[in-house]
């Protein structure tokens, strides 16, 4: 448990443009997306069809919730993998060029 918290702590403190920093951003986006799914916000994406997302909410409120889920969904399927691949490429670069490790760490 301590090791896991330690890893999370290191990721949290990592510089943005670094493998650890990018992984942290990917994890953060994934957590937000998971929360959105658990909260059932995908139900509100019906605004995409032009129909009212929820008759008990205003159209604006319902479609805002749907839009949040839509953006998180595309962040999860597009940005998260790209961030992880980028992190992997940067880690590979650092590994292959140990003399330049200070460049991106």
């Amino acid at each position: 448990m301590n090791a896991a918290f330690g890893l999370l702590g290191r990721l949290w403190r990592a510089e943005v443009i670094s493998p650890a920093g990018l992984v942290m951003r990917a994890v953060t986006l994934s957590v937000f997306y998971a929360v959105s799914c658990i909260a059932g916000l995908q139900e509100y994406t019906t605004f995409l069809s032009g129909a009212s997302p929820n008759v008990n909410l205003s159209w604006r409120m319902g479609s805002t919730l749907g839009l949040i889920h839509l953006l998180l969904h595309f962040a999860f399927i597009l940005l998260v993998p790209i961030l992880l691949i980028t992190a992997g490429l940067l880690a590979l670069w650092n590994h292959r060029k140990p003399q330049e490790r200070s460049d991106v760490h």
Binding site: T45, T46, F47, S49, L83, D103
Partner: protein, 396 residues
Amino acid sequence: MKFNLKSRVKKASLALAAFTVATALWLPCLHFFYRKPLSEFYQEKGVSPKARQLAARHLQLWTEPSLRQIELQKMRASNAEWDFMGRTFLVWSLVNMGLREPAMKEEYLRVFDKIIQETVKIEKQDGIFVFLMPYAKENPFRVSPAHSLFLDGEIALMMGTRRILQEEPAYKQPMTERLNLIEQRMRSNPLMAMESYPDECWTYDHVVALVAFKVADRLDGTDHTALCQQWLARAKEQLVDKTTGLLLSSYKINGVTLYGPEGSSIWMVAHCLQAVDEPFARDQYERARKEIGRITLGFGYGLEWPASWQGPMDVDSGMVVPGLGVSAGSSGMAFMAASSFHDWDFLQALNTTLDMAAFPSRRNGRLKYCASNQVGDAALLYASVLGPLWERIGKP
């Protein structure tokens, strides 16, 4: 300081390069995570798993009124037409399913008799405007008494297709009355046009009516071949957009164009034409496929307008992605046309997009798409089972 700046620029450049490479690697791969065998959506024989799950959801809506009420409220808040079209697509789907699975025919008959009877009852009680958008009341219909081809054609086709699956004498007279009225109005107009809204005629509704005539000919021994041929001849001559060769979507009763070739309309037009004039239908499909059907990175979608036509988005378009012109309405209707014309690559690519962007939700063997609505899901169900009905209508 200089070193620090140089180091930061180098770091950012490296990260940007890695990000670009990662994007170039990931985007072409994404569709593999959503691409499924086509047989999951459409099968030549039998009923595909997805069709079965979509149908289960719709049958549940018609057996649990409270659920249906919620769905209808959501749709009617935007467009009362969708309530009506959701019914017609479901009936046409169930007829195709009944033809595919004769053992299930009785169950389907019960549901769509309920749908037809309730729809006709509502129309009789509340008038035609109950299934039309509010602007239908802003001006009077040019031809009185007010009748909408949208309602008369689709109800006639609902009744006719039900009779194709199993004859029901109670539907013969009301179907014939509606078709007689349509024929009389078409013959009394130089363009053979009948209004769906006041001074607004839709090609979509005319081709649905043509199929209804064809069904009547098959069932009742009437002969509307000449009427259909005359309409087709006029349409080819006067209702085709000169740039794309596609049929216009809507026009005034005097023939003045209102909407050009609209994605949410032309796919269905091609599908219906297939039952009355296959070569013309195929020509329209191929033109539509070229003008507004796209596959990008493995994902299929429909545009609302061809590049040569600047048109507004209406409520049928659904959400349109700004800049790209990708239309939810056009993409949904494209399923029907791709399925009709056996364009398997496009159909599979559309299905890939559906699973990626429409948020499928499965519960207890029932499927719905959260980003869609009841009429959208019914249209998808129809696309996943169509075929046998048109085959039956076309048989000599």
